[in-house]
Symmetry: C3
Subunit: 135 residues, 3 copies
């Protein structure tokens, strides 16, 4: 079993955004030569997240960001001086880690699935940590 | 360290539903002979999820689905042509992966915990991917 | 690759609370001598959770708990006889597992990240399960 770590750069261009990172992650996996095992994605920030969702209609991303904005609005009772508490809670609700199985040196995703980096307080230069474990 | 993959079939019968899959997963684990390690559950769909919650009062499931419906309603502003954006956001909020420790060839769950497959846009024939890693 | 399990005790003192467990987890990691690999945190309860968020301004925790309370209120339609369904849904929304990379026998966290045990139905005596896998 090998353990290989990589760090990817993700540039976000909007305040809230879901960026499809599937191909970037797949290319990094191919470079590791790991055939079978587990990939962990980890976002080292507290106002962004990583998730898996639909890869076809771009309106799904828009609707998801809209739904999150409705469900976790900026509350006038918020105390945090930076004014981005809505982004912190979204980060923990969507989550900053994601596990994906590796098979035949490829990501074992469902037919309609893509990996998304979720920006909730951009635009910013972000990092995405990857750890590949397998053989 | 061995890596063993399995795929389970889950048949959902309602539009929204939490199905206890603990025994099905436990029996699959027993079949692998892995004594100590990690189990990863992964849902290869974008309108369903997997989670852990209470195993006793069936009203907990009803209340959880009700709470999600209240918090992530169908919004008239949704753009996705399939009309199931509420199911997509619930999938990412609950999450499509879950980690469980393996000990003595059993799932190391708390006393009140069960594993649930969460359907948010059913009924459908679903898959659940399992990966057992250990010795 | 070694697999080492540990169980930590977490005493919560409020009904809803986020407790910084980073140092407690880091000290446990140091004790394992694992230099490189993966740490899994797992909460064996159904009304608490684990997450990663900001480590500096304590108001972020207050705002996050406030936001969750607004988004997942106690609904008069809830059926569960214990009256804590709001805590069950929060547990599944934040999630009861978290993955962290291990490097140089340390937690590979971002500069502003801390690990939090999230109590949603306290105060209680809680457990936190850890599994270290690596070399």
């Amino acid at each position: 079993m090998k353990i290989i770590k990589k760090v990817l750069d993700v540039t976000t261009t909007k305040d809230e955004q879901m960026i499809d990172i599937t191909e970037m992650v797949r290319e990094t996996l191919i470079g590791t030569s790991i055939k079978n095992g587990t990939l962990y994605l980890f976002v080292p920030h507290t106002t962004s997240a990583v998730t898996i969702n639909e890869n076809t209609d771009p309106n799904v991303k828009k609707d998801m960001l809209y739904s999150l904005k409705q469900s976790f609005p900026i509350e006038k009772e918020f105390l945090h001086f930076e004014g981005n508490s809505h982004a912190h809670i979204k980060s923990s609700v969507i989550g900053n880690d994601q596990t994906v199985f590796i098979e035949d040196n490829d990501l074992l995703l469902g037919r309609w699935q893509a990996l998304y980096f979720c920006e909730f307080d951009g635009p910013r230069q972000r990092k995405l940590n990857l750890q590949f474990v397998g053989e």
